[in-house]
């Protein structure tokens, strides 16, 4: 299980961790910065985390997933700092003997991460910036 807050996500490293001769199915989800949101051009994103708590919450989710599905390897990486369009901000990976489990667990982890893990994203447009989800 590899759960980390990092500066940069390296896909090769992530896959290297997930690859296993014991199991045949790897599902990897990568969230990247989009160059637009609601019709406005996005210049960059800045992420900050309550690191200690974010790691705790991510580890809780990983434990729930391991209870629900037969998982061989599990990876959750989230960056903090500044990222430009196209760059990876989150990587979730699950290796299992069954592709059902790898898809479902990966989906569960990214969905739940977005709900509970204390990480915040600020979108920078050409003329202003906003904390995403802050207001209804």
């Amino acid at each position: 299980m590899l759960v980390k807050i990092v500066d940069h996500i390296d896909i090769n490293e992530a896959y290297g961790y997930l690859q296993s001769p014991d199991t045949g199915a790897v599902n990897l989800f990568i969230g990247t910065v989009r160059n637009h949101t609601k019709g406005k051009e996005v210049v960059k994103l800045v992420f900050e985390a309550y690191d200690k708590m974010a790691l705790k919450e991510m580890n809780k989710l990983a434990a729930v997933a391991k209870d629900k599905w037969p998982i061989d390897k599990l990876l959750m990486l989230h960056i903090t700092g500044e990222k430009k369009p196209g760059e990876a901000v989150v990587a979730i990976g699950v290796t299992s003997s069954h592709r059902d489990a790898s898809f479902e667990a990966c989906r569960f982890l990214i969905d739940e991460l977005k709900k509970t893990v204390p990480i915040w994203k600020k979108e920078f447009f050409i003329d202003n910036s906003v904390w995403v989800n802050a207001h209804p």
């Binding site: 309550y50 708590m53 989230h78 977005k114 509970t116 204390p118 915040w120 904390w131 802050a134 209804p136």
Partner: protein, 97 residues
């Protein structure tokens, strides 16, 4: 016995003259600081009381989609008591991923 307790309580108050509240994201922007120092004089005993106090002092917090409090880096219910040794943080709506 009663005197002993009072002594200890006073001693604690002297050691920890304020509660630190850690701030992130939009709540940090609203308060204008990374850490808010709350004096014992405010007499905030529970998570719910802290929320109320924060919203009164910083009305813009009221406009957020939600606001949670973490105690020792765990989400806490309103009823939970706050102690001097707790690490307390305001958790505005999360937006990771």
């Amino acid at each position: 016995m009663m005197e002993d307790c009072t002594d200890r309580k006073l001693g604690d108050q002297t050691k920890n003259e304020r509660m630190d509240v850690i701030l992130f994201g939009i709540s940090r922007d609203i308060v204008g600081e990374k850490k808010l120092k709350i004096t014992p004089a405010e007499n905030i005993q529970t998570v719910g009381a802290l929320k109320q106090w924060m919203k009164q002092k910083y009305p813009q917090l009221e406009k957020l989609s939600s606001i949670a409090i973490a105690v020792d880096s765990e989400y806490a219910e309103d009823e939970q008591n706050l102690f001097d040794e707790n690490e307390v943080a305001i958790i505005p709506p999360v937006s990771g991923g």
